[in-house]
Subunit: 366 residues, 2 copies
C-alpha cells in the first residue's frame, strides 16, 4: 500500500524535536548497546543466539544482529520468513505450527529456496500434514515444541516430546531438528527438568537431538541457568520496553524505542491529552495499569487511550506540567506490537535523524 | 509498503472456508443492513449523519454511506482526510486539535483543495495557531470541542465554549462552524444541558451556531434524546463488534466483521491455540476480561493473546470441541483498531469472496 503523496517521512538530518507526531523513534546508541550486550552474554556462556525479528521486522537490524554474532533468525510466521529470505537470510526458524494447503505450499517453496529452514510442531496432525507435502530429496527440518509452563503451544510431557520426535524421525520427508520451548519468565528450572528428561528418552531411542532451543527477553541474562539449552531466541531485548524494565532485564536508559507525541490539549489543570492513542502505543497493558512512561514526568500516568488520543493524569505531578504544543517522549509498555503498526521506523542519534528503515515485514496477513 | 511477492490476497470467487488465516472478513449483507438501519434512524429523526471513517478507512465504504444519505464524513487526523480528499470527498470534519507547523501547512493545502473542511479546537492556543496560518480569502472553519463528560478533550463549561467561539469568530482567517462533543455513552442529558446553555450564551453574543455535533456508536439509536443536536458522528456501527452488543446497540447477527482463524494446536483437552493473536485481534479489551466471541462455541473463552497466538479455554465447552486445522470465526471486542492492522479487507456473501478493498488510510503516521 504505497500512499506516497500522504507519506510523512523523516529525512536524515531532520531534528527529532521537529518531527510531526505521533511516531516511534529509535535511539541508535542504545540500539547498538542492546545488540552488543546480549551477544556478549551469549558468547561468554557458549549459547547460540537466534534473535526473533518480530520485534523490529527490519532486515537491516537483523543483519546487525547477525554481524554481532547471532546465528540465524527466528520468525513467527511464513510471510515474515519470506520477506527475510528475500533480504538474503538463509538460516530461519519459524516457531509456529504450519497448517493448511496454501501455507504448506509456501513453506515448501521457501524450503527449496534457502538452505537452513526449520519449523516447529506440537502434534501428530501437524507433523503428518508436513510429511505429506515434503520429499526425501529436500526434507523439512522440524523441531518439537514443548510446553514447559507457559501454557501456550507444546507437547505436555518429555515422553510426548520423545514420541513426536520419533514420529518426525520416521518420516523420510522430514528431519528431526531438536527441541524448542517458549518458557515462562524465570522458568529455567522447568526448562532444565523437561529437556533433561526428554534428552534421556531420545538417547534411549537412538535419536540425535542437535538443538535445544529456549527463549524470551525478560530472563535473557539468566539463560545459562538451564545448561541443557544450546540456543536462545529473543526479540524485545533489541529495543527494550517497560515490561523488560519491570522484569529486571534492563533500565530506563536502555530503552531504545520511544513514542514521540505532542500535547494537543490541557482541558484541566490535572489532565493532558496527547496525540498518541492505541493506534500508536497499542492497548497492550502487559499487566500494567497504565500505558507507558512519560520521560521527564515520572508522576504522570497515561490512564486511558482512545484510538488517536492519550489521556494523561497529571494530578501527582509538580507545578511544572506539559504545555499545549510540547513534545513528549514515552517509553511504551510493549515494543513488538508497535513495530507492526508503522510502515517505517525513524532512527536518531544526538537528536538528529540518522536513517529511516522500511518495516519490511509489517502487517503481513499470515 | 508494497510487498506484492508476499501479498496473500483473496480473489472474488474464493471460498471463505479456504482462505489462509488469520484475517478479518466482512459480511456484505450485514454491512449493507448496518448502513441502511442507522441512516433510516437519522432520517426519521431529522438528524444529519456524518460517519466516522476511522472504523473502515476504505473510500468505497464511505461512498456507500454517503449514497445511503450521510452528509459528509468524519476523520480523526489530517492524513485520513488527505486520503479521502484524494478519493473525491469534499465535506470532511477532522475532530482533532491540529498543532504544529507541518500539520498546519498540510491542513492549509487541504483547505485550498476541498470546499467543506472543518476542524475542532478546545483551547485559545490551538485557535491562535490556526488563525496565524490561514487567510481571510480562504478561511478555515473551526468548531469548538466541548467536554460533556467523557473526560478527554474539550472546553469544560458552556461559558468557556462561548468564549472560545467568540475568539474564533473574531478571527478573519477563521469561521466559527459550531459546537462538537464526543460524549459518554448514554450521556444525552449532559449533552443536552451543556449545549442548550452554550447556545443561549452564543445567541446573547450574536454568534450564529450552524451545527451542534454529537457522536458515538453505543448510544447511536438514542441520539434523538438530545434534541439540540443537529448532527451525529459514528464509526463502529458499520461493522459492529462485541462492545456494541454489550451496549445494546446491536445483536450478534449484526456483526459484519469476523476474524477468521485456524486452530493450530490442542495441547490439552481444555486448551486450543489459534493463529490469531494481538496482531490480528489487538489487545483492546474495552472492559471485557477476554478477547472475543467464538462463533459456534459460546462457552469458549479467549483467555490470552500473544502476538501471533490466541489461547482458548475450552473447559466450559461440551464434548464437541474445535480440532486442529479447523477454522473458527471470532467476533472481536473492537473493530476500529483491527482495520488499522491490515492493508486489505476481504468482503464476502454466502461464503464466497465478493471483493477485496485496500484499507487506504491504514497506518498513516499522523
Amino acid at each position: 500500500m504505497d500512499h506516497s503523496p500522504f507519506r510523512v517521512s523523516a529525512r536524515p538530518g531532520d531534528r527529532i524535536a521537529e518531527l510531526s507526531t505521533p511516531r516511534p523513534i529509535i535511539d541508535e546508541t542504545r540500539l547498538a548497546a542492546n545488540i552488543e550486550r546480549a551477544q556478549r552474554y551469549f558468547d561468554e556462556h557458549g549459547i547460540a543466539f537466534r534473535p526473533h525479528i518480530k520485534t523490529h521486522k527490519i532486515p537491516a537490524l537483523a543483519r546487525a544482529q547477525v554481524e554481532a554474532g547471532a546465528r540465524g533468525i527466528n520468525c513467527q510466521k511464513i510471510t515474515e520468513a519470506e520477506v527475510f529470505a528475500e533480504a538474503g537470510f538463509d538460516d530461519i526458524l519459524i516457531t509456529f505450527n504450519i497448517i493448511g494447503d496454501e501455507k504448506i505450499a509456501r513453506l515448501k517453496a521457501l524450503n527449496d529456496r534457502i538452505s537452513a529452514l526449520k519449523v516447529t510442531a506440537d502434534s501428530a496432525e501437524t507433523v503428518k500434514g508436513l510429511a505429506d507435502a515434503f520429499t526425501a530429496e529436500r526434507p523439512l527440518a522440524v523441531m518439537v515444541e514443548c510446553d514447559t509452563g507457559a501454557g501456550r503451544c507444546g507437547v505436555q510431557t518429555p515422553e510426548a516430546a520423545a514420541e513426536l520426535a520419533a514420529l518426525i524421525a520416521a518420516q523420510r520427508s522430514l528431519r528431526f531438528a531438536g527441541l524448542m520451548t517458549y518458557p515462562r519468565p524465570a522458568g529455567h528450572e522447568a526448562v532444565q527438568a523437561f529437556f533433561t528428561r526428554a534428552l534421556a528418552l531420545l538417547a534411549q531411542a537412538g535419536i540425535d537431538c542437535p538443538v535445544v532451543s529456549s527463549g524470551g527477553s525478560p530472563s535473557l541474562f539468566e539463560a545459562h541457568l538451564a545448561p541443557v539449552v544450546t540456543e536462545h531466541r529473543a526479540g524485545t531485548y533489541i529495543y527494550n520496553d517497560r515490561s523488560l524494565i519491570r522484569a529486571g532485564h534492563c533500565g530506563q536508559g536502555d530503552c531504545a524505542m520511544h513514542i514521540l507525541a505532542t500535547v494537543v490539549s490541557r482541558p484541566t489543570a490535572d489532565r493532558a491529552v496527547i496525540d498518541a492513542g492505541s493506534k500508536a502505543l497499542t492497548s497492550d497493558l502487559l499487566g500494567f495499569a497504565d500505558h507507558g512512561l512519560v520521560i521527564g514526568y515520572p508522576e504522570a500516568v497515561i490512564t486511558g487511550l482512545s484510538e488517536e488520543h492519550g489521556v494523561i493524569d497529571l494530578s501527582a505531578c509538580g507545578a511544572e506540567r506539559p504545555r499545549i504544543g510540547q513534545k513528549l517522549l514515552i517509553v511504551p509498555n510493549h515494543t513488538c506490537v508497535i513495530s507492526n503498526l508503522f510502515d517505517e521506523m525513524v532512527f536518531h542519534r544526538d537528536g538528529v535523524v540518522t536513517r529511516v528503515e522500511p518495516v519490511a515485514a509489517r502487517g503481513l496477513v499470515w
